[in-house]
Every structure is written in C-alpha cells, then in structure tokens.
Amino acid sequence: MAEDPTRFDPYGLFETLDRHRISYIVVGAFARVVQGAEELTRGVDIVPSTHPENLRRLGQALEDLNARGPTLDQATPVHEFATDCGQLKVVVEPAGTRGYDDLRRAATREPLGRGVRPSVASTGDLARMLAALGREHDLPKLQMMRRVMELERGELQRSRAIER
C-alpha cells in the first residue's frame, strides 16, 4: 500500500488491534476527545498490557498496520509508529500511572461506531497524566479535563436525583 502520511483512520487502527485481541487502554489526546475535550489530533496513544503474549500479538498487529518505527520492547517507555492508519504511540507506563493494570480499573469501553468499543482511560486518569507531565503548554488541556470531570459529576448527581 502506498504510504499516505495524511491518513488518519482510528477505526481501522482499533479494528486491527481488536482482531489480534490486544488488551490496551486508549490514553492521550484521542482519549481526551472521546471523553469530551476539544482537541486536535491525528494519532492514537495506547497503553498495552505488558503480558508477553499480549506484546507478541501487538507485534503482529503492528505488522498488519505496516508500522514503521522502533522495535517493540518493554524497556523502552514510549514507541512511536507511523502506520497505514495514522500515528500510533505505544506507552508502557504513562507519567503519573503504573501502566495498564492501574488504568484498567477506571477505564470504560466507549462505543465509537462501526462496532468499535475501545477501553478508554477515565477523565480522572487522563487529568492525572497531564498533571504528572508538568508541562506548561498542557495546562489548558488539564483545565479542560477538570471541567469535563466537573460536568460528569454534575450529570451523575442529576441522574441520581432522578432515580430517587
């Protein structure tokens, strides 16, 4: 397939990961958009389970995606790949977290259409990661995530009041 650097097809990306039964959590800008933030991105960041079998399957999925980038290994904290479906960043242990098992507890499966339902990190965890990075240019994103958390809490309280 001819390389098209402008292509961004998150559906194709998630379908490939799911076809290979990869256990992962979506984090980063794409996750924040799914959770309600207003950001622009043309890539997907994932935190995979570091179980050896999962990493082996991830390697196969990367081959299917024609991924160009470093060799996948557990020692490297962040792997950035250019794939036929756009940029894919594989982060073993995002800042402020203890990786997949930590994020999995609060992550939720979000229906994105076309039958795709990836596990997406919670707003609280996404804010935690941004705060841990401590970068000045991430401050507006962090404020936005905190606002989304407030709105979520308000929505939860409203729905509980209706249940009563």
Binding site: P5, G36, E38
Partner: protein, 96 residues
C-alpha cells in the same frame, strides 16, 4: 499554545519533516521545533507563512466569540461517537 498545534498539524498533513519545512521557509530546524513545542510563539504573519508553506491557508476573520466553557459544555453533551466524527471532520485533509 494553539500556534504550536497548528504548525505541527499543517506539517504532518503535508507529510513534511521539520527539516523540510525549515528548508521551505528558510529557517533553522531548531526554530520550527521550538514553535512546535510551544517554547516560543511565532507572529501571526509567520504562522500564516508556515501554514502556506505546507500547502494550506489560515483565513483570519472576526466571528462572534463563544466562550470555551460553553463550547465544552455542548461537546460533553455529544456521544463519544459524535465527538470522534467531529474530530475526524476537523482534521480531514482538504481535497486536491
């Protein structure tokens, strides 16, 4: 910083490296990197010049301002699927 995201977005859509964009605009690659990392911000004129060097335009016009909070409130009301579709329609490369 929005200019940083815009420059990176335009460059990636054009399939250019920082070095290639630097060559096209007669600047050093490190300057492009500092703009993209939001270490410093370019002037509006420079921003338009960089975006054009990537084959895009950045029309500047006055439109009524909607507070970021209000926009976010509306966005949160959308389903995750609609949020993603909105993102994709925003970042879709122009035809041609």
């Amino acid at each position: 910083m929005r200019s940083a995201a815009l420059i990176r977005e335009a460059r990636l859509r054009a399939g250019l490296t920082q070095t290639e964009l630097a060559e096209r605009t007669g600047r050093d690659r490190s300057v492009i990197a500092r703009w993209e990392q939001a270490v410093v911000a370019p002037s509006v004129d420079t921003l338009v010049e960089l975006v054009r060097a990537c084959g895009f335009d950045l029309p500047l016009e006055l439109v009524p301002y909607e507070r970021a909070d209000a926009r976010l409130d509306k966005n949160v009301m959308l389903s995750p699927e609609r949020r993603v579709r909105r993102l994709l329609s925003t970042t879709e490369p122009a035809d041609g």
